[in-house]
C-alpha cells in the first residue's frame, strides 16, 4: 500500500520535472522571438522577459493542475482508467484495490520516459532557438531597425517660447542630436580627434582599440577680448528734477 503511494509520488515528481523542462524550452523560444521582434522595433529587448514570464507562469499553473495519471494513460493504453483509479484510491484496504495496485505497478515498468519526450519536436525547438539566437546577433551587429516606435520625439519641454522667468536671463534650447557620438568638434581634444568605437551590442568602450595614452601638452591661452565693463548707477537714469523727490520718498520710507 505504502509502496503504491510512493509510485504515485514518483509519477507526479517525474512528470512535473518533464513538464517544467518542456515549459522552460518553450519559454526560451518565446523569449527569443519577442527579443528579436522588440530589438528590430527598437524597443528595449529585455521587455521580452514580460511575455516569457507570463507564458511560463500560465503553463506552469495549468500543468500543475493537470492530472498526471491521465497523461500517462494517454501515452500507454493498457493503463487506461486503471492508473487514475488506483491513484484516486490509494489507502483503500481491500483485495480488489490491492490487486489493481499490483497490476498498475507491474504495468508501470513498461512505461518509459522516452514516451513523453518527442525527440523530433524537441530537436526542432532547439534548432529554432539556435536560429533565433543567430538572428538576434546579426540584427544587433547590423543595427537592424525595421520600425522605430520607441524613438519617438521627446516632448519639447525646453521650448524657449514657453519659458517664463524673472530677471535678465536667456533660456537656452538644448541641442539634441540622434548621433550618439556627438558632434565631431565636441569630441576634439586639442588638435586630436578621439577615435572611440562603442559596440552597439554591449555598449562598452573597448579601451584597447584607443591605443596607448599619450601625454598632451596644454598651453594657457588668455582670451584676447577680455574686458571689464563699468557698472552703471541707477541714479544717473533718473531725471534731474525728480531726483530730489525720489530721494525724499526713500528717506520717508526708511524712517517710517
Amino acid at each position: 500500500m505504502k509502496q503504491f503511494s510512493n509510485v504515485v509520488k514518483e509519477i507526479n515528481k517525474t512528470l512535473n520535472e518533464m513538464i517544467l523542462f518542456e515549459n522552460i524550452v518553450n519559454t526560451t523560444l518565446v523569449f527569443l522571438v519577442f527579443y528579436l521582434i522588440l530589438s528590430v522595433m527598437d524597443f528595449h529587448p529585455l521587455l521580452a522577459s514580460i511575455p516569457s514570464l507570463m507564458y511560463l507562469g500560465f503553463y506552469s499553473y495549468m500543468s500543475s493542475k493537470s492530472s498526471k495519471p491521465l497523461i500517462i494513460e494517454g501515452k500507454y493504453a493498457p493503463l487506461r482508467e486503471k492508473l487514475r483509479t488506483a491513484a484516486d484510491n490509494v489507502g483503500m484496504n481491500n483485495p480488489i484495490a490491492e490487486e489493481l495496485e499490483y497490476e498498475v505497478t507491474t504495468e508501470m515498468k513498461n512505461v518509459g520516459l522516452s514516451m513523453f519526450i518527442n525527440p523530433k519536436i524537441l530537436s526542432y525547438k532547439i534548432f529554432a532557438a539556435i536560429i533565433l539566437s543567430f538572428m538576434i546577433i546579426f540584427a544587433a551587429t547590423l543595427d537592424l531597425k525595421l520600425l522605430e516606435f520607441a524613438r519617438q520625439k521627446v516632448p519639447d519641454i525646453f521650448d524657449t517660447k514657453n519659458l517664463k522667468g524673472v530677471g535678465n536671463f536667456v533660456a537656452v534650447k538644448l541641442n539634441t542630436s540622434e548621433d550618439i557620438y556627438g558632434k565631431n568638434d565636441v569630441a576634439k581634444l586639442g588638435d586630436k580627434e578621439l577615435n572611440i568605437r562603442i559596440k552597439p551590442v554591449d555598449f562598452k568602450v573597448n579601451v584597447r582599440e584607443d591605443g596607448e595614452a599619450t601625454q598632451q601638452e596644454f598651453e594657457t591661452v588668455f582670451p584676447k577680448e577680455l574686458a571689464v565693463k563699468e557698472t552703471v548707477a541707477y541714479e544717473e537714469n533718473i531725471p534731474q528734477e525728480q531726483q530730489e523727490l525720489v530721494k525724499n520718498y526713500f528717506k520717508k520710507l526708511a524712517e517710517g
Binding site: 482508467e81 483509479t85 480488489i96 484495490a97 490487486e99 489493481l100
Partner: protein
C-alpha cells in the same frame, strides 16, 4: 478478479442451456442481484422473461416464488395473512407467509395489479421486511424482486407510480431475438423436450460475499463525477425532460457499474460501464415532456443525448 469472471462466465453458459441469446439481459439481471437491488423487465410477451428469472434462481440455489399480478390481487395475497388454526381444541391466529417470503420474487405483469397491491411490494423491496398488522417480519437475505411488464395491452393496467418505479435499480428492456437466435429457439423447443439439468453455480453465502465485494471495487474520481453529472443533466435538460432522476439514480449508477466491472473481471470501473448502464438506470426515472414526445423522441434517445454531451 479472473476467478470471479470465470464464475459469471460459467453462470452465463449454464443459463444458455435454457435461454437462447439475451446475454446482455442476463448480465443486467445479475448486476441487479449483485447490487442487492430490484429489476423491472419490460418486453413483449413470449420473450422468456419469466423463464430467465426462474433459471437464474435455480442456478443460484435460491428460493423462488412467482406472483401473477391481476387486478383482483390483494396485498395480503403477496405479504401473507393471519389464519385461524385449531390445534388441540384451541383456536389461535397463525401467520401464513405469502409468496414474498422467498429470495427471488418474480412479480409477473406487475402493472396489472392495483396500486394498493403494488405498494405492498414497496416495503419489501426497500426495507427487506414485511409488516402485517402490528407485526414486522424480516425477509430472508438475499432478497430480490424481479418484476415484468408488457409495453402493450395497456388497457386495464395500472402504470407503476414514480415512487415505486424509482425503487427498481434497473429497468431492463427485453428485446426480440435475432434470426439465428430464433432459429435456435425453434430447434430447442419445437423438437423433443429434453430435461436440462442445471448445475448450481452459487449459493446464498457466495452471493452475499459477492454483494460485499461489489462495493469494494474502486472507482476513479472523474468517472464518479461523470456519473453524477449524467444524473444531474437529466434534471437540467428541461428542453426534453420534464422530471429528472433522483439521487438514487446516482447511487445506482456507481453501484451497478461496480457490479458490471466485477462480472467482467475488471478491478476498476470504466466509463464504458456508465455508458452501458445509464439506459437501464435512467429510463424509468425520467419523464419526457410534451415537446420530446411530439418529436417522437424516446427516453433512450434523451439519455443518449446526455451521454454524448457528457464525455
Amino acid at each position: 478478479m479472473k476467478n470471479y469472471k470465470q464464475i459469471f462466465d460459467e453462470l452465463q453458459k449454464e443459463t444458455g442451456k435454457i435461454i437462447v441469446g439475451q446475454e446482455s439481459i442476463i448480465e443486467q439481471i445479475l448486476i441487479a442481484i449483485l447490487c442487492d437491488g430490484n429489476a423491472l423487465l419490460e418486453g413483449y410477451p413470449g420473450l422468456a422473461k419469466t423463464l430467465m428469472v426462474r433459471t437464474l434462481a435455480q442456478l443460484m440455489d435460491l428460493k423462488f416464488s412467482r406472483i401473477q399480478n391481476t387486478p383482483d390481487l390483494m396485498p395480503s395475497d403477496i405479504t401473507g395473512t393471519y389464519i385461524i388454526e385449531e390445534s388441540s381444541g384451541k383456536r389461535q391466529f397463525k401467520f401464513q407467509p405469502g409468496p414474498i417470503f422467498a429470495n427471488v420474487v418474480l412479480a409477473d405483469e406487475i402493472n396489472r395489479a392495483t396500486p394498493k397491491t403494488q405498494s405492498a411490494l414497496l416495503e419489501a423491496m426497500q426495507e427487506k421486511q414485511v409488516t402485517v398488522g402490528t407485526n414486522t417480519f424480516k425477509l430472508d437475505l438475499p432478497f430480490f424482486v424481479l418484476a415484468t411488464q408488457n409495453p402493450i395491452e395497456q388497457e386495464g393496467t395500472y402504470p407503476l407510480p414514480e415512487a415505486q418505479a424509482d425503487r427498481f435499480l434497473l429497468k431492463i428492456s427485453v428485446v426480440y431475438p435475432n434470426y439465428e437466435q430464433e432459429l435456435q429457439i425453434v430447434d430447442k423447443y419445437a423438437s423433443e423436450l429434453k430435461d436440462q439439468k442445471l448445475k448450481v453455480m452459487l449459493n446464498k453465502n457466495h452471493l452475499l460475499t459477492l454483494q460485499g465485494l461489489v462495493r469494494q471495487v474502486p472507482i476513479a474520481n472523474d468517472i464518479k463525477q461523470r456519473a453524477v453529472k449524467i444524473v444531474l443533466a437529466t434534471r437540467a435538460n428541461k428542453e426534453v425532460i420534464q422530471y429528472g432522476a433522483s439521487p438514487r439514480a446516482s447511487i445506482g449508477m456507481i453501484l451497478a457499474s461496480k457490479a458490471r466491472a466485477l462480472i467482467q473481471g475488471r478491478n476498476h470501473v470504466s466509463n464504458e460501464d456508465l455508458n452501458m448502464l445509464a439506459y437501464p438506470i435512467l429510463r424509468h426515472r425520467i419523464i419526457l415532456n410534451f415537446e420530446a414526445e411530439r418529436k417522437g423522441m424516446s427516453k433512450d434517445d434523451a439519455i443518449k443525448n446526455i451521454l454524448d454531451k457528457i464525455k
